[in-house]
């Protein structure tokens, strides 16, 4: 037996790994209830207008077709738009699938073909013809910039920038000035598993909905609202999720349509999206940032002016925190920022890994690099010179910020001190070598979460919470946390996640799951342990040495040392002596009074320092990333192995952001045209060098009960900028548009 005395902090391999590689892990499109219908969605090829006529006669002729559901024949749904609101809090009027004949975006579902086989459904879907009345639209971000606005009601997590000093004046007076427009192309999340839903109808008529989502309880609430179904008769499950990166934060149309069809036809239904259809819903918004930086000759930042715009749809006001990061992270006496959204006739952009910061931090860190060079200062030295120990925007202390240590350790590991400053000065044959760096910052969040711990006669500890493991390792770190809190070997712990009936947990996102669900599991296990010993001590059958304050629980066995030597008791024996078949405890982790006060008085972030080496062909301009080092300060690291995987995965994604990923919008039709993996380029192995991830020691028991900050998104922040900055160092050419593609 593999007993790890302090399981937290160990590099434990995924406990769900075997289930995944042997195909036992079931994903949303895998349950196969008898009598299941296959649904294939037909999407609109136009961006705005109205459906004139749906010609479905030919499609209905295809053998096996059962129904073609459109806005004309769909069953009753909720009357009010409000009922379609989801937990993400994007203000506006949510899109309502098949609500009426109006088209709001290219790719909007206009019909669902339901058939006995997938092949029949797909063939029939190709035969559905729809006539549209076309209305004028705009899908061009450059045009929509002229209509940018500040929504009257802001998104719930939106942080308004707080100006300080007189940035315009300070800029005008600055001896060194850098000014430019920086741009990020829209990107799609493209998790490996495509969005899918299987609706099972239970014997009592209740629905069990398997959905690819990051929040089973959020989908349950959404479906209950939008489809006017009773929550009690609606269970949503997502035990395994093949990546999501934010694409599963909001309910995607497949879950609505599959459940609606099941309601209509009273049969189980599965709807899966194709890869091209993955380009018909959420995406990371296109963004511009106009940045003006002023500094004195000695490299002291004097002024920072950041104006950012991201796109949104015509019907919702998606907002991101893109402009605040520099104001928070740099000590600069005068700073101001402005943020607006620009509407276009597309689906609503929304959160993709490190939403806001992936855009804002990377674009700003490219400008900071320009400023360092304008001051002829080493980019690392420049950042240290302007380092802020507080949240400079809110003028608030931080629970912790080991960024200085991260910079030092990252630089040492990378060998930064050997860098020669002038661009183009490092060369190997035909290749120019560039070293660039950037810093990263992301929120460290904690949300109220509940978890249950249950000890059964089999001596196993069962942990349950409605969290989602979207591939990050949540199963594993929760098992480690439970093992340590309860005193149980890891292999006697079962973790159950991804089910709306389990104790409440917020949607997986924002890197808060480890801190929040971890704390809930910790509390539930402590509580269960206390309860077990209490019950046992009270029972008349129990040995006399069992007392709350002396007995220990270690390796899944109760121990004590008495005058007569050590004594012990197995957990199944303890349960039966106490007179129980099983014992359970449920706890909710939420900030207590002290925590609430801390949240008001102190800001909390994760930080990182990223170092990159690129090699650029001197004549062809082709770029190879040859080294990446990321030093991360994220509080306590529960599992260095899964945590480092998170950082590495994000660094791969950020390499895509820097060099490859771009959803190509054809504005004339409002459609993303490179909607497949042959033409939407994500990095391949050949594009990714060895990556070194260092975790910096950062002790912080204020940020969350376990001292955890979360690591899911920080790897995105700064990495793309480090690559762009390295390209500058190699070539002397500044790129202000991401991605930087061949010939750019």
């Amino acid at each position: 037996m593999n007993v790890i005395s302090t399981p937290v902090g160990q590099s434990v391999s995924r406990i769900d790994g075997i289930a995944k590689v042997t195909g036992q892990a079931k994903y949303a499109a895998e349950p196969h209830p008898p009598g299941m219908l296959y649904g294939v969605v037909v999407n609109s090829p136009i961006a705005r207008g109205r459906i004139d006529t749906v010609h479905d006669a030919a499609a209905r002729q295809v053998p096996g077709v059962v129904e073609i559901m459109t806005h004309l024949n769909r069953p009753h749904t909720a009357l009010f738009e409000k009922a379609y609101m989801d937990g993400l809090g994007v203000p506006g009027a949510p899109y309502r699938p098949l609500h009426d004949g109006e088209i709001h975006f290219n790719g909007q579902p206009v019909a669902v073909v339901l058939a006995e086989t997938f092949e029949a459904a797909r063939e029939a879907a190709m035969l559905v013809r729809v006539d549209y009345e076309r209305w004028p639209h705009n899908a061009d971000f450059k045009v929509s910039l002229h209509q940018k606005y500040m929504p009257s009601k802001t998104r719930s997590n939106y942080v308004p920038p707080r100006p300080r000093g007189d940035a315009a004046r300070a800029y005008a007076l600055s001896t060194v000035q850098v000014e430019g427009r920086y741009h990020l192309a829209p990107e799609h999340h493209n998790p490996m598993e495509m969005h899918a839903t299987t609706v099972i109808i239970e014997d009592d008529g209740a629905f069990t909905v398997w959905d690819k989502t990051q929040g089973p309880q959020a989908v349950q609430a959404y479906l209950a609202g939008a489809l006017a179904l009773s929550k009690a008769r609606l269970r949503v499950r997502n035990p395994y999720v093949g990546g999501a990166f934010g694409s599963g934060l909001r309910a995607v149309y497949n879950v609505f349509l599959a459940t609606l069809a099941a309601k209509m036809l009273k049969r189980p239904v599965r709807v899966t999206l194709t890869r091209p259809q993955m380009f018909t819903h959420v995406f990371r918004p296109e963004a511009i940032m106009d940045i003006a930086l002023g500094a004195s000759r000695d490299g002291t930042l004097q002024s920072m002016i950041v104006e950012g715009v991201t796109d949104t749809s015509r019907f919702e006001h998606n907002m991101e925190n893109i402009v605040i990061w520099g104001l928070i992270n740099y000590r600069c006496p005068n700073a101001t920022a402005d943020y607006k959204v620009a509407p276009r006739d597309t689906y609503t952009s929304s959160d993709m890994r490190a939403p806001g910061a992936a855009t804002g931090v990377n674009l700003l860190e490219m400008a900071i690099d320009e400023m360092a060079y304008a001051c002829t200062m080493d980019p690392l030295a420049f950042r240290l010179h302007n380092y802020s120990d507080t949240d400079a925007m809110h003028d608030m202390p931080l629970t912790s910020k080991a960024l200085r240590e991260a910079m030092a350790q990252g630089a040492r590991h990378f060998g930064w001190q050997r860098r020669s400053m002038p661009p183009g000065s490092m060369r190997d044959g035909r290749e120019l070598i560039g070293w660039g760096m950037a810093t990263g910052i992301w929120d460290a969040m904690f949300s109220p979460t509940s978890a249950r711990a249950r000890l059964g006669q089999d001596g196993r500890l069962h942990i349950a919470t409605a969290a989602s493991d979207i591939g990050t390792g949540t199963y594993t770190i929760l098992a480690q946390t439970a093992a340590e809190a309860f005193g149980m070997p890891l292999d006697r712990i079962d973790v159950e996640l991804g089910d709306s009936t389990l104790p409440q947990c917020p949607t997986e996102g924002g890197s808060w799951t480890a801190a929040s669900a971890g704390a809930a599991v910790w509390l539930a296990c402590l509580s269960l342990r206390r309860k077990l010993i209490d019950m046992l001590a009270r029972s008349k059958n129990a040995p006399p040495w069992v007392k709350q304050d002396t007995v220990t629980l270690e390796g899944g066995i109760l121990h004590d040392v008495t005058e007569n030597g050590p004594v012990s008791l197995s957990l199944p024996d303890a349960l039966s002596l106490a007179g129980y078949d099983a014992l359970e405890a449920e706890e909710t982790a939420k900030p207590g009074l002290r925590g609430k006060i801390s949240q008001m008085r102190k800001a909390r972030f994760t930080h990182s320092a990223v170092f990159c080496e690129v090699r650029v062909d001197a004549e062809l301009g082709t770029v190879r990333v040859t080294r990446l080092v990321n030093a991360v300060a994220a509080g306590r690291i529960l599992n260095p192995k899964t945590a480092a995987s998170q950082i590495r995965g994000a660094m791969v994604m950020a390499t895509g952001m820097a060099l490859h990923e771009e959803s190509l919008m054809d504005e004339r039709v409002g459609r993303f045209m490179n909607h497949n993996f042959a033409e939407y380029h994500i990095p391949t192995h050949a594009d990714i060098p060895d990556m070194d991830v260092l975790f910096v020691n950062e002790h912080d028991d204020e940020v969350s009960p376990l001292g955890v900050k979360g690591v899911g998104e920080i790897g995105m922040c700064g990495t793309a900028a480090a690559i762009a900055n390295a390209i500058f160092h190699a070539t002397g050419r500044r790129h202000r548009n991401l991605p930087i593609t061949p010939g750019a």
Partner: protein, 335 residues
């Protein structure tokens, strides 16, 4: 995907004499994708997998015959190909992924269709897919589209890597059709779009590619396949160059050069190649060759970068060939 009939004939005669809307199925890596996307809608799929075209054969003249059904992977790994036609092996390995090359066949590679986004998306106008509907790629997102050999009707790039090497090697395509057999030079095999962009090549209904013949290649180590693409592996060419040079005492005797990623077909310009005849290598010569190759290149909305990039890629490829240091397809450093 729509319903279709399927057959797997054992003889050429059966395979060739099929009326109606048919498509031959080889590795399926292109055809099946297009059927799933509702771009290809054959009524009858004829699986040619049982026809005897599975071998690579030595030829009396020192050349090789590549069976149409030999996979791209097996072709690139074949000892005689590696020995005599490293340029071809290199071009094949520069394309797609190992998995795809394991399925893809030589005949399929020759006949693969464009990757134009608009061709692949039946919601969009496309003269190649639906004659007469127009060309949505013009004025659209066309950074991957062609700049050479385009017409008003179509600007689609011919996407193959393998065929660029075949063009530089002056290979011949052997065909078997309802009216018998014929051969066509690979440079004449693909068509310019002109007014008839739906015709990718000269293949007549019922005609099957049986083999590709390679004449002896006198280039020794003086060849290269240099490909610039959006990522370092598994992406189609933005610009690629296949070069073979006959070097004698530091001079170029004769040169063969073809461009990929740039044209609506593998792009060869005999006048550009003739500039190399009996000349010492030099920057100005190579600049002239590039200029001649790119003569008439026209960009649309997004693809001007190709025209800027191509001369540099051509010159580099020529130097690689001169120095006998062909581009490695595993080490991504461009030497």
């Amino acid at each position: 995907m729509r319903h279709f009939a399927y057959s797997r004939p054992a003889t050429f005669d059966e395979a060739c004499h099929n009326a109606g809307h048919t498509r031959f199925l080889a590795g399926g890596t292109n055809l099946i994708d297009l059927m799933k996307s509702d771009v290809e809608r054959p009524a009858h799929v004829i699986d040619i997998g049982s026809l005897p075209m599975h071998h690579i054969e030595d030829q009396p003249d020192g050349g090789l015959r590549l069976g149409a059904l030999v996979t791209n992977a097996d072709t690139a790994a074949h000892p005689l190909v590696v020995e005599r036609y490293p340029l071809l092996a290199s071009a094949i390995l520069a394309g797609a992924s190992p998995q795809i090359r394991n399925m893809a066949t030589n005949g399929g590679n020759l006949n693969q269709r464009t990757r134009c986004h608009y061709f692949y998306d039946p919601a969009m106008a496309c003269n190649k897919r639906s004659p007469g509907t127009g060309c949505a790629a013009r004025g659209g997102r066309n950074r991957i589209m062609a700049v050479l050999g385009t017409s008003d009707a179509c600007i689609a790039t011919f996407p193959s890597d393998m065929c660029i090497a075949l063009a530089a090697l002056n290979a011949t395509v052997n065909l078997h059709g309802p009216d018998g057999e014929r051969t066509v030079g690979v440079r004449d095999y693909h068509c310019l779009p002109g007014e008839t962009p739906w015709r990718d090549n000269i293949l007549q209904p019922g005609e099957i590619v049986t083999a590709i013949d390679l004449p002896p290649a006198p280039f020794g180590p003086h060849h290269t396949y240099l490909k610039v693409r959006d990522r370092l592996s598994f992406a189609f060419a933005i610009v690629s160059v296949a070069v073979g040079l006959c070097m004698k005492d530091g001079r170029i005797g004769r040169g063969s050069i073809a461009l990929g990623g740039m044209g609506t077909k593998p792009w060869c310009v005999p006048e550009a190649e003739a500039l190399l005849d009996d000349r010492p290598p030099s920057h100005s010569l190579f600049r002239d060759v590039a200029g001649r190759l790119l003569h008439g290149a026209t960009a649309d909305r997004d693809n001007a970068a190709k025209i800027r990039l191509a001369p540099r890629v051509i010159e580099r490829a020529l130097w690689q060939a001169v120095s006998g240091t062909p581009q490695s397809q595993t080490d991504k450093t461009i030497r």
